[in-house]
């Protein structure tokens, strides 16, 4: 198979852009999804707990 310079340029200018845009949308949706808020709030406060032992049942 012969991949020319022009083929690569065309590919990166089209699909390269599309996949980055699609990825960006996915990340924004994940970060702003309303039901994730609780989990993120818990995560950011959890590191401030003063417990210094692993979790035991």
């Amino acid at each position: 198979m012969d991949i020319s310079h022009d083929t690569l340029v065309a590919f990166s200018k089209s699909w390269g852009l599309f996949y980055l845009m699609a990825f960006f949308v996915c990340v924004v949706v994940y970060a702003l999804w309303p039901s994730n808020r609780k989990r993120f709030d818990r995560a950011k406060h959890s590191i401030l707990d003063r417990d210094d032992r692993p979790w035991q049942k």
């Binding site: 310079h5 970060a31 950011k44 959890s46 692993p54």
Partner: protein, 546 residues
């Protein structure tokens, strides 16, 4: 160190050390008088010391306590000590090479002490020795605390830590002996590179396995950064170091990448080493130690997610800005330039997120030099990422490239961001880890802070001045269209700045020595803190809205 291992784990550790010693023997036999032979000897000595340490307490009683009820902190402590040793070594070498530029006689006519051999010992010493050990130590700490689970291995954390340091020793001693791959930040030769692959894959598996044991539903964002750091550095290291050795008995190898592809692969590696070794991992530190020290949750968790994915996906494409005006296709240069400019968005999102976390706690920043270290680090991170995006623009690069401006930019990042966030994190971590109430001396942290800030500013301003003067002198033409200045003219103009730069670096080095003393005295002289009550949340603080 050995007393915490069961007897079967001690056996495993011994077998590993013996295998490494045998590999060293094979290198010594195959390499004979070549540098490879010398390195074989170094590997054997290193493994010999480890074997001695294991054997010395091989028949001690096994641990009786439930190890899963406590975090595994011994490798972290060793990692902090090693990081500080490498910091002093690497920064001393930096001051030495900086002084050589002003006073070339300081090479003392030795081959081993010439500029070309000493410079990579500085870069490897500070980036991998200091930065790498600090990253390994803090990542082991953060992953355990945020996952509320002990590390997933007993021997493997030691293997990762000691194996990584063996790599650093092989790299640095190799440069002094005259071997190099001539690749920026990847100068170590093929056998050391192969060893690092083994160590690094173990590190990755250990990290993932620890995350898999987590008792928290969500993986805290600091771990994302550490995981990106470990995973991407593995990919970069393997691809960039694909090389064929001249023979099994020879240290020299040749890269498989030809011509401009080699240049592209090298700077894809080089720039992502800055991105994932010197940025992602240290952002992991920032997102854990800054909120913990300030006792305030991160300003916006959502923003930290957005900037994480922004940084991971943009940085990958930015490397070609190191190759403006070269044989690299024009569109690849433009691609690198565009992504470098876009990178400013996630970078400033992280820096702003850190500073907004401190908003409302400025009195603590004023009173607590440790927190101020981290605040200043976030500011320098914002400044140097702005500068980096700016310098990646092709016409700006025409002025800045090959000049000291680049060196100044790198050090704004390395001293102002990487080293400051590391020192801030270590001053937070050391008392916690050794269960002390506080650091030995708050005044010495203050002294260190101002030495570090003064050193960084002197260094960076000296290099900005000299870099722009260099760039302008090299592009000044006479009316006849000839170059107005010779290279030596520009070199003479640099002399005062080279002296200033060495002085700035010296201040920074003194600060690191002060930190070593402070950490040592904290461990030796500060009384142990009363055991902390468990399951008591931190004093409730007002949470800023998102």
């Amino acid at each position: 160190m050995i007393a915490k291992l069961t007897s079967s784990e001690r056996q495993n550790a011994l077998v590993l050390a013996v295998i490494v010693a045998l590999a060293g023997a094979a290198m010594a036999i195959l390499g004979r008088s070549d540098v490879l032979g010398v390195h074989g000897l170094i590997v054997m000595i290193f493994a010999g010391v480890v074997i001695y340490l294991i054997m010395a307490s091989f028949y001690e009683p096994e641990p009786t306590e439930d190890r899963e009820a406590s975090y595994y902190d011994d490798p972290i402590k060793a990692g902090i000590v090693l990081a500080m040793v490498w910091a002093v070594f690497g920064m001393f070498m930096g001051v030495w090479v900086a002084a050589q530029l002003a006073w070339p006689d300081l090479a003392f006519d030795g081959a081993w002490s010439s500029f070309g051999r000493l410079r990579p010992t500085h870069t490897t010493g500070v980036i991998f020795g200091f930065g790498g050990n600090a990253l390994i130590a803090t990542s082991f700490h953060v992953v355990q605390r945020t996952s509320r689970a002990r590390l997933a291995g007993q021997v493997s954390p030691w293997f990762v830590l000691l194996g990584f340091n063996l790599f650093c020793v092989l790299a640095v001693s190799g440069y002094l002996l005259g071997v190099t791959q001539s690749k920026e930040y990847a100068e170590a030769e093929w056998y050391a590179d192969l060893w690092l692959v083994i160590v690094w894959v173990t590190y990755f598996i250990l990290y993932i396995a620890t995350i898999a044991r987590r008792k928290e539903p969500h993986i805290y964002v600091a771990n994302w950064y550490f995981m990106a750091f470990i995973l991407v550095v593995a990919i970069l290291h393997i691809v960039n170091n694909l090389a064929l050795p001249v023979s099994w008995g020879h240290a020299k190898s040749y890269t498989i990448w030809p011509g401009v592809q080699d240049a592209m692969v090298q700077w894809w590696y080089g720039h992502n080493a800055v991105a994932f070794f010197l940025t992602a991992g240290f952002l992991g530190m920032l997102y854990y130690y800054l909120p913990v020290r300030a006792q305030r949750p991160i300003f916006s968790y959502r923003l930290s997610i957005l900037s994480f994915w922004g940084i991971t996906f943009f940085y990958m494409w930015a490397g070609s800005h190191h190759l403006h005006y070269t044989a690299l296709p024009h569109w690849v240069q433009t691609l690198g330039m565009t992504f470098s400019v876009m990178l400013l968005v996630p970078s400033w999102a992280s820096a702003g997120n850190a500073l907004l976390t401190l908003n409302g706690a400025w009195h603590r920043v004023r009173d607590d030099a440790t927190l101020r270290f981290m605040m200043a680090a976030a500011v320098f991170y914002g400044l140097s990422t702005f500068e980096g995006s700016f310098m990646a623009i092709r016409p700006v690069n025409a002025l800045s490239h090959y000049t000291d401006w680049t060196v100044g930019h790198v050090h704004a990042g390395a001293l102002g961001w990487v080293a400051l966030i590391t020192f801030g994190s270590l001053y937070t971590l050391v008392p916690v880890l050794w269960k002390r109430e506080r650091m030995y001396s708050a005044a010495l942290i203050e002294v260190h802070f101002w030495l570090a800030i003064a050193g960084t500013l002197i260094y960076v301003f000296a290099m900005w001045n000299s870099g722009i003067i260099q760039g302008l002198m090299w592009r000044t033409y006479t009316e006849e269209g000839a170059l107005a200045y010779s290279f030596v003219d520009s070199l003479v103009a640099m002399y005062p700045y080279y002296i200033a730069r060495a002085f700035g670096g010296l201040l920074f080095l003194i600060g690191a020595v002060v930190a070593c003393y402070n950490i040592w005295m904290t461990v030796r002289a500060v009384p142990a803190a009363a055991p902390r009550a468990t399951d008591i949340p931190a004093t409730t603080v007002a949470v800023p809205g998102e």
